[in-house]
Symmetry: D2
Subunit: 264 residues, 4 copies
C-alpha cells in the first residue's frame, strides 16, 4: 500500500500567486511528512448557498492557474467540473476531475468525465448510502475508464447537519477503488449561517484521523493562511500553519493502518 495522499488547497482559487504560495507550502509539508500531495482548488463554486456568495476565477483563468501550479510546483492537480462541456476542457489540464456530491447521480456528467481518461474523484452525495456508490462508479467505468476514486463527505443528518459514517469507508473500499475522506466538507453545516454554510473546523482533524486509521488512500483537507477571510468554506478550513503538525500526526496513523489492514 502506498503512503497517504493529501488533497489540499484553498476551497476556491483566489489568484495565481495565492495558489502558488499555498501549493508550495503544502507540497513541502507533504514531502516532509512522507505523504503524497495533490493541489486542489475550484475555478467556480457553482452551488453556493446564496446568489451573493463568491464563485471564483472562472474556468479559463482558473485552468491557467492550475496549469501553472502543476508545472511550477510539480504536483498533480484536481478540480471540480459541473457540466459535460467542462469535463473536456478541464480534462486537458488537470490530473483528476472531481464530481461534486450534489451531481454524483448525473449520468451524462459521469460519462463525460470518464471519457476524458483522467482519474475521477466522485464525491458520495449527501443523500446516498455507501452501497449506492458501485452504481455510480459503474457509470464511469462503462466508458472504459477505471481510474476512479470514491470520496466520503458526510451524509444528511437532520437539517443543516452532516454526519460521517465511518462504516462507509471500508464499504466503499470493497469496490476495489481507492477511498478518499473529505475531512473538510464532512464537518460542514450546510446552510447553517442563513446565507452561507457554517462548519466546525476543530473536527476536521477528528474525521481525518479516523479515516486514516482505517487505511484510506487519501484525505481531502482544505487549508488557507487566513480561513476567516476565505471566500468560501472558511469555517471548516484548517489554518495553513497547522498543516505540518497535522500531516506528521496523520502519517504515523497511516503507517500503522497500512501495516495492519482491516479486513471488513
Amino acid at each position: 500500500d502506498q503512503p497517504l495522499t493529501l488533497l489540499s488547497g484553498p476551497c476556491q482559487l483566489e489568484s495565481r500567486d495565492h495558489a502558488l504560495m499555498l501549493a508550495e507550502h503544502l507540497a513541502k509539508v507533504c514531502a516532509d511528512a512522507g505523504a503524497q500531495y495533490v493541489f486542489k482548488a475550484s475555478y467556480d463554486k457553482a452551488n453556493r448557498t446564496s446568489l451573493t456568495g463568491k464563485r471564483g476565477l472562472g474556468i479559463e483563468e482558473g485552468l491557467r492557474v492550475l496549469q501553472d501550479v502543476r508545472s511550477e510546483i510539480g504536483c498533480p492537480v484536481i478540480t471540480d467540473v459541473h457540466t459535460e462541456e467542462q469535463c473536456a476542457v478541464a480534462g486537458e489540464v488537470v490530473d483528476i476531475l472531481q464530481i461534486p456530491a450534489f451531481l454524483s447521480r448525473q449520468t451524462d456528467l459521469l460519462l463525460a468525465a470518464g471519457k476524458t481518461g483522467r482519474a475521477i474523484n466522485v464525491k458520495k452525495g449527501q443523500f446516498l448510502a455507501p452501497w449506492d456508490m458501485p452504481n455510480v462508479a459503474a457509470k464511469i467505468a462503462s466508458t472504459g475508464n477505471e481510474r476512479i476514486l470514491l470520496c466520503e463527505r458526510g451524509t444528511s443528518f437532520g437539517y443543516n447537519t452532516l454526519v460521517a459514517d465511518m462504516r462507509g469507508l471500508p464499504q466503499m473500499a470493497r469496490t476495489g477503488y481507492p477511498v478518499v475522506m473529505d475531512a473538510t466538507h464532512s464537518v460542514q453545516q450546510p446552510g447553517g449561517q442563513g446565507g452561507s454554510s457554517g462548519g466546525q473546523r476543530e473536527f476536521a482533524p477528528v474525521m481525518a484521523r479516523c479515516a486514516v486509521s482505517l487505511g484510506v488512500a487519501a484525505v481531502f483537507i482544505e487549508s488557507h493562511e487566513d480561513p476567516d477571510k476565505a471566500p468560501s468554506d472558511g469555517p471548516n478550513m484548517i489554518p495553513l500553519d497547522r498543516m505540518g503538525a497535522l500531516m506528521t500526526s496523520l502519517m504515523a496513523f497511516d503507517r500503522l493502518a497500512k501495516e495492519d489492514p482491516l479486513h471488513v
Copy 2:
C-alpha cells in the same frame, strides 16, 4: 384561494399515444373533481440509479410530444430540465420548467431557468431544510422572474429512506410562493432495490391528503395505467384507474383547507 392543481402524468414519456391517453384521462378526472390540471412528464431521466435504467424519449421527440399534449388536450405542461441549454429549448414549449431536487443548488441552472420567463417549479433538495429554500428562490427571482413554485419531495432520513416533514409546507409558504407537494417521490426509497429505487405507492395518498389539508397549491402524483410496467418510479405510482376516487377525496379536503387556512 384557487382550487387544488394536480401535476400528473407518467414519470417519463413513453410515446405520443401513451402521453395523450394519460393526459386525456387525467384532465377528465380533474375536470370532474373540480381541480386544475397540468400534464407532467420527463423527456430524459438524467440521474437514474444505475446506467441501465431507461432514460426516455430524449429532448427533441419529448418536447414534440409535450407540445401535442398541450395543444390537443388543452392543458399546461411541465417537464424537468438538467442543463442551462435545455432551459431555453424546453422553455419554448412548456408552461412550467421543473428543477430536479439534486440540482436545486446549481446557480447557473436556476438562472437559466428564470430567464426563460416560464414558471419554475423547484424541488427542494433531499439535503436541504425548508428554510434553505428562500436562498434558492432568490437565485431565480434575481432574473426578474417571480413565477416560482416550491416543491417538497422528502428529506434524507437515514439511508435509502426519505421522510416528508409536513412543517416544511407552511414554512415554505411563508415565502409567498405557491407550494407543491410531490406525493410520489416523497415515498420513494432511493436506491432501495440495488439497481433502482423502490417506493411505497400505498403512502402517496397519505402524503397528498396531509398536504392538501394544510392548503397547498398543488400536488404532484405520478400515475400510470400499469405502474409495474412503468420504466421508472413504478413502485410509487398510483394506478390510473384510482386517480378519480383519489382526486374526489382530495378536493373535499382542499375545499375545507381553503375555507379554513392555517396561520403559521
Copy 3:
C-alpha cells in the same frame, strides 16, 4: 367511527385549582366542538433535560388532583407512569396509563401497566420505527389487556430535532389499535435550549391537522393559560384561549376523514 378525542391539559400538574380550571375549560371546548375529552397531566416529570427542571406535585398529591378532576369535571383522566410500582397505584385512579416514549421498550413496565386492566397509551420511542410497535403492543397484550393505544410523538432526526412521519399513523393503525397523535411533543426540540427542551408551538396545529385528516382516534395537545410560564414544555404548548378555534377546525377535518377513510 367515533368522533375525535382530545387528550389535553397542562404538561405537569401545578395545583388542584389550576387543573380544575383547565379541565373545565377544555371539557367545554370539546363539548362545544363535538369532540370527546380526556384530561391529561403528569404528577412527575421523571426525565427532565436537567436536574433543575421542575418535576411536579409527586404521585400522592398528583393522583388526588386527578381524582378530583375526574369526579368534579366528569371526564376520564390520563397520566404517565415510570415504574412498575406506580402502575398499580396510578391504575387505581386514572382511566388511561401512559407509557413515556423513552420507556416504551421496558418490558416490566409494559407488563405492570397491562396488568392493571386500565387502557394503556404507549408513546412510540423517538428511536423506534412504526413497525416496531406491534412488538411493544404484544408485550402489553400478553397480560390479557387489549385496551391499547399507540401514540406518535416524533422520531429522532439529527440532533435536537424530531420529525413526525405521517406514514407511521396508518402503519400503526394496521395493528387494529386506536392511534393517537401527540402534536405537542412531535414539535419539541429536545435539549434545544441547553438546560431544557425548546419547541415550535406554531407547528402543533399543523401536526394535528395532518393526523386528523388521516383519521386518527385522538390528538394530544398540551395547553396552558400562559405557556411561557408553564414549568415544562411551554415552548410547544397551545395557549388555552386558542383551543376553541383549534378544536372547531379539527372537528371539521375529523368528520371528513371519518366519512372517507384511507385504506392503506
Copy 4:
C-alpha cells in the same frame, strides 16, 4: 494517560461456568496486549425487542456469578441497572454500574446510581446529542459522585439504523470524564429482524479502531465463543477467538493516540 480498558463479556449472563470461561480468556487477552480489563455482562435484558427474547439469569443469581468472576478472575465487573432498587443491590457487588441508553434521562435512576458511590457508565441515549450529556452527568454528580464515564453507542439515523458520530467522542471528553466507545451496540440494527435486533459484526472493529485512534479511555466489545448461539446481540458480537488479534491491533493505535492527543 492510562492504557486502553476493554469492557467485554457476553451480552447476557448464561451460566457461572460460561462467565468464568469468557472472563478468564478475555483477561488473558488483555494482559497479553497490555490493556486493562473489566468483565461486562447483564443479569437481565429489560428492554428486548419482543417479549419472547430471553432475559437472562435474573438479579440474584446474576450478581452471584458477577461476584465469582470478580473474586476468581480478579478483574472489576460492570453490569446494567434498570430501577432505583437495583442500584443499591447491584452496587454491593459490582465495580461499575451501567445506565442503559434508553434510561439515560431517568433522573431518579441516575441519582440512585450516583448514591451508591460506584463508578457509573452512562450510555448516551440514541435520541441525545453529545452536548446533551453534561446535563446527564450533572444529575449523577449532584450526588457527590464524580466517578462518571460517558459512553457512545450510536445515534438514531432513520429507521432501524444507528450511526456513530465520531465528533461526539472529543465533544463528550470536554466534560473531563473518561469516554467509552461501545463498538458493539453502535453497529446494531435495532428491531431490524422483526422480533429482534440485527447487527453488523464486521463493523465493530471499525468503530473500535476509530475511537481508539481518537484516544478514548475504553472500548466496549461484546464477545462470545459462538455468537450465533448467543441469546442476544449475537449478530454484532465478535467471536472470542478473534479478540486476541483485535486487542493487539487496538493497543498499537492506543499507544499512538495517547502519545499524540487530539486537542479539540
